[in-house]
Subunit: 151 residues, 2 copies
């Protein structure tokens, strides 16, 4: 989002993003490159497996959610590199044909003590399928530039 | 790895995998699809940014490491779905031309109490660049089938 800065992220703020359409060709294309296990790339083998069909690589689900965050949530010009992610959980399978919504909640927003031009935001993120099931959750850490330096 | 089961993962076991060659076309291709921030897709804009050039999306680095794990570490037939990841950290930038090694350490391996056909393995994973710098670290949880059920 153009114009957003650290000050625009306030504890308790909730947003809903998406939907993300999960298609079989895209699911298989990602998995062939990055996670070529039969359950992600081979519909016949996956059909005989524990989920009765193809499921998305967990890294693909995370990457699809990242795309939505870039397109419609993260600051376009004030985003610094992310230090990392905590408690990434793949809770239910993501399947071809699924439609995922993404809910985003600001858990904590605090200015850096040492660098007054930025703040750290911790964000709870959940991906939810068309049946209302949470398929993935994670806590993201992001550093955003401040609109105005602390005085 | 064909034939590997839960019993083959023992606390303290270390492995070194890779190398992974990071190339600019692949870095940009991933980022255009999943993380199209200027620092990942626009060499000119990234050159003026804090890292002085393009860096890989953190999700791309994680996905590249996953590919190496699938190719040369995880059990081919005994791997069940992963519950998730803890403490994923992007510690230093990954740049075009980098060559990443992956070090893998079994932190904990315990049989399931409720399902005697499987066990949970917690694994510390580090990606290290050609200068010896750790660029990413994470703790993975995996469920693997046992070769023999607990008695």
């Amino acid at each position: 989002m153009a114009g957003r800065h650290f000050e625009d992220f306030v504890q308790g703020m909730k947003s809903t993003l998406g939907p993300i359409a999960v298609t079989e060709p895209v699911l298989i294309e990602f998995a062939r490159k990055y996670d070529p296990q039969p359950i992600h790339v081979d519909p016949v083998a996956a059909g005989k497996g524990p989920f009765g069909g193809l499921i998305a690589s967990g890294w693909h689900t995370a990457s699809l959610v990242m795309r939505v965050l870039v397109d419609s949530y993260l600051p376009r010009d004030a985003q610094l590199a992310s230090p990392g992610i905590d408690e990434l959980r793949w809770l239910r399978p993501v399947r071809p044909g699924d439609s995922l919504g993404v809910t985003v909640t600001v858990l904590e927003a605090r200015r850096s003590q040492s660098k007054p031009d930025r703040g750290l935001v911790r964000t709870g993120i959940e991906a939810v399928n068309q049946n209302g099931d949470i398929v993935m959750s994670l806590i993201a850490m992001n550093l955003f530039r401040c609109r105005r330096e602390a005085e």
